[in-house]
Amino acid sequence: MNAKRALTRFRAPDEPGAQVRAWPAIRSAYQDRLPVAERRSYRRPASALAAGLVLLGALALSPAGATVGHLISRALGVEHASPALSSLPAPGRVLVSGPGGTWTVAPDGSARRLGPWAQASWSPHGLYVAVAGANGLTTVNPRGVPQWSLGRRRVSDPRWFSPSGYRVAYLSGTELRVVAGDGSGDGVLAAAVARVAPAWRPGRAYQLAYLTARGSLVVRDANSGRKLWSARDGAVRELEWSADGQRLLAVSARAARIYTASGRLLSTQASPGGPILDGALSPSGRRLALVTGGVGGEVVVEGQQPQRVLAGAGLGQVAWSPNGRWLLISWPAANQWVFVRVVGAPRIFAVSRIAQRFAATARSGFPQLEGWCCTAAGAG
């Protein structure tokens, strides 16, 4: 057989299976795509995002905004919440950690305790979980079996590089450290950093955003140690890159800022009400969910059609489903998880007794959402 013919007849592993796994993600991306009539805006997602952020402020003051989708609950908690989670409304697995340890929640609603750790992070395809404890960093498989461990003091906020998972960044005291995905080559990337989870730029090996103790936002090449850019951004509490690596979201209590990959500030949106507690970019990177705190707390999803999807006191965090169609909102004050569908027909349902479900109590603290994983290739 000649070489050309051999190449023509070559078949990759499990081609039919790969096709079946890929289709839901492709379809989901297609459904998220803007209609043809809105192509102009679609071509410029950064502008759309900036416009959306501007709209966000207006929306919060708008009576019409308060009734979008009829999804707003002003009571403490959603009525008729189910006492148990029978299934997740979208593919993937949810990772939770807190006083009761680290848990995963399967699509059928069943929960598995991985161990006693206080923080955790999915690997890009959900094949492993990096867990942080007072005395070290450990990676475990989804059954909780340890793969490797590093003894370090005061470890927190592990984050995997995506899509390969070949690096894990984490904080140890005031140091930012980076270790290879197999536990080798651990080293300090930066000293005197703030207690904010670092964020890898997806697909760009290996650019890492973090916050210094003095409040500078820095993006650094983790291989060479070279600083790529920096900006003064005050009290940032959360950093997140868009999935395509083109935008960096920096959330502080008073504002959500979007930077380009080269460090140019694209937009700044002050909080519409109380302090911003949490922010999350959708998998497509075109929508931003923000949770604000205080008595007038709310969850707002900005984008082409901004939506205020939930309101109430004592809200917590927000996470997007991997297909970008649902939000999972934690509501510690109501001891609930609230699922809200934000694509297609509006839908909402809630699950109560979340603290008890994950072996926590009101006094010990509410379980933290660590992520809803993953792409079609993993953790489904």
């Binding site: 190449l7 007849r9 990759a12 379809r27």
Partner: protein
């Protein structure tokens, strides 16, 4: 408030195509642009296998190849309205796949975290080709990602050398020399197999 939860993404086998007559690619793209998910699905089914195969041959890691092919499709969908429908879809998608695969392979080799794995076994589901598939992988392993990409674009995705030059932004002469070197390596390896 209602308490309703329904899965929204299909995870089972893809439904069969509803259309009996083969649709032209241009028609499928037009349909997908107009909002027809069925047309998008046909387009996907038509182009997925080779996109995934090409990515796998370049990166030699099936999980990464799945991601790359999937991301390439998503990127293509997002840019579909900018696509020139007078041109064939496959080379456009293939360029996205090849460039992403090269980037991924370069990133992996820039600092290896784990020992470089040997090539993964090719599909056992291709009996006539399976004996050679392993050899194809082994032969390509000796080439750089850039060389592999040129060979794959030419003989798996069936680009012309000119199209490869444009897609990878290479001089035409470089494309030809890389093709020659890739084919020589493959043929040498396959001759060894034949001789056993």
């Amino acid at each position: 408030m209602t308490a309703v939860a329904q899965p929204v993404a299909a995870t089972g086998p893809l439904p069969r195509s509803r259309s009996r007559r083969p649709r032209s690619e241009r028609s499928l793209i037009r349909g997908a642009l107009a909002g027809s998910e069925a047309d998008l699905e046909l387009l996907f089914r038509r182009h997925w296998p080779r996109a995934y195969r090409a990515a796998f041959l370049i990166v030699r890691d099936h999980a990464a190849a799945e991601d790359i092919a999937q991301e390439a499709f998503v990127a293509a969908i997002r840019r579909l309205d900018r696509f020139d429908r007078r041109r064939p879809f496959a080379p456009w998608l293939g360029a996205i796949v090849a460039n992403r695969a090269i980037d991924w392979a370069r990133a992996r080799s820039s600092r290896r975290e784990v020992a470089e794995p040997g090539p993964e076994p090719a599909s056992p589901a291709g009996p006539p080709a399976s004996r050679y598939s392993e050899e194809v992988l082994a032969a390509l392993a000796g080439l750089s990602p850039e060389h592999r990409a040129v060979v794959v674009l030419r003989y798996v995705l069936e680009y012309t050398p000119g199209e490869i030059a444009r897609a990878l932004e290479l001089p035409r002469g470089t494309v030809n020399s890389r093709l020659r070197r890739g084919l020589d390596a493959l043929e040498s390896r396959l001759r060894e197999v034949e001789a056993r």
